[in-house]
Symmetry: C2
Subunit: 189 residues, 2 copies
């Protein structure tokens, strides 16, 4: 239906602007101009600026949670799980680099769903930590600090939204592979 298309367009435009300037610095008039209408007309499609942020962030957070569920319940090696997590991040981010900026930088401006978002995020990190811990116990990966490994990998994956747009010639498959390689094997010879 047409209304849904227009709403989708508004959400994508909002996400793009949120990435460039952050949620608070983007006005409804900015979004309206970018989409070719007046600010008041936006309200024929959405209920509030908050709704835009909520849709952008929560849908992405739930995609990560769902992806992680599938990985952690699959019967594969620790390294294969890590590669799958990398691929999950690369794929979701490649599809929506704008929204990922809001997920990373504007979640604190969520008003009704901040706690829900934070619970998804905590759960995700806990699952990730479990994968690493299991890998150490099974002697599949090095016995370094779990927290440092988790932080290092997750920081890199969470920054993909900044990097993918600058390397449009690299396919998600190639990126996943070389990234997995560097994260798992480091840069050592």
């Amino acid at each position: 239906m047409k209304l849904e298309n227009r709403k989708e367009e508004i959400i994508k435009t909002a996400a793009k602007l949120f990435k460039e300037k952050g949620y608070s610095a983007v006005t409804m008039r900015d979004i309206a101009t970018a989409v070719g209408m007046k600010a008041a007309s936006l309200y024929n499609h959405i209920s509030s600026k908050q709704e835009l942020l909520k849709i952008i962030i929560i849908s992405l957070a739930e995609a990560f949670t769902q992806g992680m569920q599938e990985i952690k319940t699959s019967n594969i090696s620790t390294k294969q799980k890590l590669e799958a997590v990398v691929k999950l991040h690369v794929d979701i981010t490649a599809q929506n680099t704008f929204g990922m900026a809001s997920l990373n930088n504007d979640w604190m401006h969520l008003e009704g769903e901040r706690d829900y978002y934070l619970s998804l995020r905590s759960g995700y990190e806990a699952d990730f930590r479990s994968i690493l811990l299991e890998g150490i116990q099974r002697k599949e990966i090095a016995d370094s600090s779990v927290e440092v490994m988790l932080f290092s990998i997750l920081s890199t994956l969470r920054s993909l939204y900044l990097w993918i747009p600058k390397k449009e010639d690299v396919t998600p498959e190639d990126l996943s592979k070389s990234l997995s390689n560097v994260l798992i094997n480091g840069i050592n010879k």
Copy 2:
């Protein structure tokens, strides 16, 4: 002098609030309340909200640039240079986690110094890239994609401001060491 102390206090308070909500979402009244005065009184110490952002970001960016100059001109191995870069990030970030949030997330709101900031940033990344390239040529590190290595390491180092405050029990020395280890050797057994 007293005036400088008060100004320092305002800058630190502003940086703290900027980290929590982002530059645009923080009002001069927020800063004033947090520091115990009225918004108009802030202008006895600073000239504008922009000045606060400029001081916070530019001083940090210049510290990184200066640190990088010393590392790249030093006569040490590639791995030692990488360890020095890690230490540079850990030390600066540990001293000013609030300001690092602005450096990472609010530089686009700089009005007079954005281009200057971006030039410092580009120079820093170019120097970092050169260190990695030299390491590959000298066969001191693996011959993986320089861009992927650079992105991965820099993403981790730039996210330190989020992580260090949550691990106050870890000393900068220990963190630098374990982080260098994970970044250089990966998580492989």
